[in-house]
């Protein structure tokens, strides 16, 4: 789990470097970093939500399916969102509240994939005194194929 060990888990650290709602420019690309998805990371994610389907764990079984090998669960983008963004990304700002998400799935992520993210705020607005940002995210594999794309809203800390 070398990647997890290198990951800064104290989200207060670097908090002053992150953009607040006022600084976020809709349309401006976010800084992202490529991430190699490992079998260990998939298995840990599966454990956290109780996924037990053999298509995520059993290579011999997975080869017999339409996917021809091991895949990650579609919701692996929950992990990819944090693994493909740097420590000063504003998604890590303490107090960020998730206000809903929609995701479309094209092809599965697989162990060994080098995954990249194209992300930006698409919009921002104020509603009932709360500061909202609309997120626009697309994950790609090393072949440039779309894995999944998603839109989300967060309420930004004041």
């Amino acid at each position: 789990m070398a990647q997890a060990e290198a990951f800064e888990t104290d989200f207060w650290k670097d908090a002053n470097l992150r953009k607040v709602w006022d600084d976020i420019v809709p349309g401006e690309p976010r800084k992202t970093i490529p991430y190699t998805l490992t079998r260990d990371a998939i298995e840990l994610y599966c454990k956290s939500v109780g996924e037990t389907h053999p298509i995520y764990f059993d290579e011999a079984y997975a080869k017999t399916t339409r996917y021809g090998g091991l895949i990650a669960p579609p919701s692996i983008h929950i992990l990819l969102m944090f693994s493909c963004t740097p420590a000063d990304d504003w998604m890590r700002s303490p107090g960020t509240v998730n206000a809903g998400q929609s995701w479309s799935y094209n092809i599965p992520a697989r162990p060994g994939d080098v995954i990249t993210l194209q992300a930006r705020a698409l919009d921002k607005f104020i509603k009932r005194e709360r500061l909202f940002v609309v997120h626009d995210n697309v994950f790609f594999n090393q072949h440039g194929e779309v894995i999944c794309s998603g839109r989300g809203q967060t309420i930004r800390p004041e």
């Binding site: 997890a4 990951f7 888990t9 104290d10 989200f11 207060w12 990371a41 840990l44 994610y45 454990k47 956290s48 939500v49 109780g50 996924e51 389907h53 298509i55 399916t65 339409r66 669960p73 579609p74 919701s75 929950i78 992990l79 969102m81 944090f82 693994s83 890590r92 303490p94 107090g95 960020t96 509240v97 998730n98 206000a99 809903g100 998400q101 929609s102 995701w103 479309s104 799935y105 005194e129 709360r130 309420i155 800390p157 004041e158």
Partner: protein
């Protein structure tokens, strides 16, 4: 048990797994998702208020609901030769350590497009008090090559 696109009807239920939420399950989700937002870790921080909202203690990641709904959909789709294509969710109520939650799906409608077949599903997650904690919609594709 319905197994083919033709057999599915509006109102058919999809049962999801029961999930016991604990401080440990939330911590494991932090490690698995790399989402270490103090909302999910820091009781002292959570004694404060967020605008008009006071949670009173740590809460489960909203995306943990999302992951459970996704698990329900894929476990339903794989044996039917179907593919989970879309999930949209909103959080209705915070989930706390000690809660037990369970996702549920209800087939809403079916649609045939030029090249494929789709099932639209209303999803929700309930807690042990039968309160809705999350709601949403999903879309599962039944490709023509999966026709039984």
């Amino acid at each position: 048990m319905t197994t083919t696109f033709e057999d599915l009807n509006a109102g058919d239920a999809i049962d999801g797994p029961t999930f016991a939420v604990s401080r440990e399950s939330i911590r494991l989700f932090c490690d698995a998702s790399l989402d270490y937002n103090p909302l999910h870790l820091d009781d002292d921080y959570m004694k404060g208020s967020f605008g008009k909202t006071n949670f009173g203690g740590i809460i489960m990641h909203g995306m943990n609901n999302f992951g459970l709904i996704s698990r329900m959909l894929t476990d339903w789709a794989y044996p039917r030769g179907a593919i989970h294509r879309r999930l949209e969710t909103r959080w209705v109520k915070p989930v706390r350590p000690g809660d037990t939650i369970r996702p549920l799906g209800i087939v809403k409608s079916k649609q045939v497009t030029k090249n494929s077949r789709w099932v639209l599903i209303d999803v929700l997650v309930r807690n042990q008090n039968d309160e809705k904690v999350a709601t949403g919609e999903a879309m599962v594709e039944f490709p023509l090559d999966a026709a039984a």
